[in-house]
Symmetry: C2
Subunit: 326 residues, 2 copies
């Protein structure tokens, strides 16, 4: 199995990306193909003493985080994400992993690999830490405006992902809404509720409110990409705000400082639980090929874990399973 890794994408590219990819190669017994500016990649490989066993594919351009995805993909045909995605299309790689611009990766996947037939809107899936383990949320931002039938497809694709990759059995699906009752919500959720309930292939629990999102009652939570993106980014912001509040308060007196030192392992355990580096990455669902999205701030560990997710997606034939279900 060959996993193409976009060496140029992400806040810590290329160093952490390369380190994570090499680690994955050794741990997972797979082949890695690093895609990006070859002189830079080779220099890094040289520095860490890697002389062979890693394939490097040159791509002269890099797409920045702020570039318009569609435009960037069209203009920069020799960018690392476009070239890496093309390797999958041409069956020179089994999957692509990137921590670069999510929008550009989605655009590259849409143009390069295409949608699975019948899937109208591919979605970005995200894995959040819940009280009982993990919860899958989608769409996390691929589609700013969604229709009820799209949410039904998100539910199906999310369920397959939860089952095949996260080992949930018969995953429970909930609709993110502003009330528990069937009649609550906006036009989109009221209509989506009916469709989700009527679909025998979806293990639909009903509505879930914002406050229960991380309780673990549901395994897969569907919402439109606008709401999903706001919630996801807000969670990151709020967790950060709370940790900085805690830090600030703990530094205010000597007893508090001593207490903080003693309690430090507890905080480390929590940070680890909330750390996206532990989850690595998640596939773009609905794309006809495996393209794993990583957080922009991914370090080596996240990339290693993301490559492991890519391997799982390929081995479990995630794409084939989605094709069957939709």
């Amino acid at each position: 199995m060959i996993i193409a890794v976009d060496a140029m994408g992400g806040d810590y590219a290329p160093k952490e990306i390369i380190a994570g990819a090499i680690d994955a190669k050794e741990k997972l017994k797979i082949h890695i193909c690093l895609v990006g500016q070859s002189d830079i990649i080779n220099e890094h490989l040289h520095e860490i003493g890697i002389k062979e066993g890693i394939q490097v594919v040159h791509a002269s351009e890099v797409i920045g985080m702020d570039e318009h995805p569609g435009t960037a993909i069209r203009r920069k045909k020799d960018s690392s994400i476009v070239v890496a995605t093309r390797l999958v299309k041409e069956k020179k790689a089994d999957a692509v992993v990137s921590a670069g611009s999510t929008g550009a990766q989605m655009a590259a996947a849409l143009f390069g690999l295409g949608r699975i037939k019948e899937v109208e809107r591919p979605a970005i899936v995200t894995v959040l830490p819940a009280k009982t383990g993990r919860v899958v949320l989608l769409d996390a931002g691929a589609n700013a405006d969604s229709k009820p039938k799209h949410l039904v497809q998100f539910a199906k694709m999310g369920s397959i992902y939860a089952e095949k990759i996260l080992s949930f059995s018969n995953p429970k699906v909930a609709l993110l809404n502003i009330g528990a009752e069937e009649t609550k919500g906006n036009e989109l959720t009221i209509e989506s509720y009916k469709l989700l309930q009527d679909d025998v292939n979806i293990n639909f629990l009903g509505n879930i409110e914002g406050r229960d999102l991380l309780e673990g009652h549901a395994d897969v939570i569907v919402c439109d990409g606008f709401v999903g993106n706001v919630v996801l980014k807000f969670a990151e912001g709020l967790a950060g705000t709370m940790f900085s509040l805690i830090k600030e308060e703990l530094e205010k007196s000597l007893p508090r400082k001593v207490g903080a030192l003693l309690a430090m392992p507890a905080f480390k355990a929590i940070k680890q639980k909330l750390d996206y580096n532990e989850y690595g990455g998640a596939p773009l669902l609905g794309i006809d090929g495996v393209s794993i999205i990583c957080h922009g701030s991914s370090k080596a560990k996240a990339i290693t874990n993301a490559v492991a997710v890519a391997k799982q997606c390929v081995e479990s034939d995630l794409i084939g399973k989605i094709k069957e279900a939709i």
Copy 2:
């Protein structure tokens, strides 16, 4: 000044509501009118040794948290929230405060007091703790589907509230969105951006993403009621989850327990900072009268603070100021 307090609304009604209202009467030098089942209210007053100085207005019915707001308001004409709101309409009270069903309070306000002319959609405003102090978010759930022109009105009403009640000078307004650029977002936010930018009476900063919501860059953040409600409830859930994670981890070993004891004042300070009881309540904006919404879990302190907010709204002529601005 007379503030009507719905003695029957909220998780801790009537005990905590009555206690908070009495405290407010003493601290704020105002008159309180407790509305609800008079035998129960009088029994509570008797228990805490209050014999005079508190007016009690009887209302035989109570609207539960799960009842459909519109239906409940029509059927239960002698419910505490309907009667308390009527006191304001009849100028027998200057404002109403309730911790009962938000939907029922909104419905009672719409039917009893009406909208301010020109305000198409009244909004629920909420005050969140931000890094730099406080941030105002609206709509927090009154309108599941909003139009761009509604968001413009939310911006104006939120600005006046922030200025008159929270003492922000020339409050900065931001639009909650999924990207910083003007072209990012869904149909609603892309269109709203233009209107907000073109309105010379709004101090518009631009878009704000979920992760920056609590950073304090903006003072007033506008969004549709669906997104606002999800974010608000998610914030409550996430803060709760984090505290229970911290507690769980801190109980795992003796050094951690000792550390937790020493650091306890820090945690208390944070809990206080995040505690909605500190903020009390916020007015329904766009209603032609002062109706203060409190959190369902409000205890005495929250009610006291909410009555203080009611007093401020009356004294600063919030309704008159909104009428001028819209």
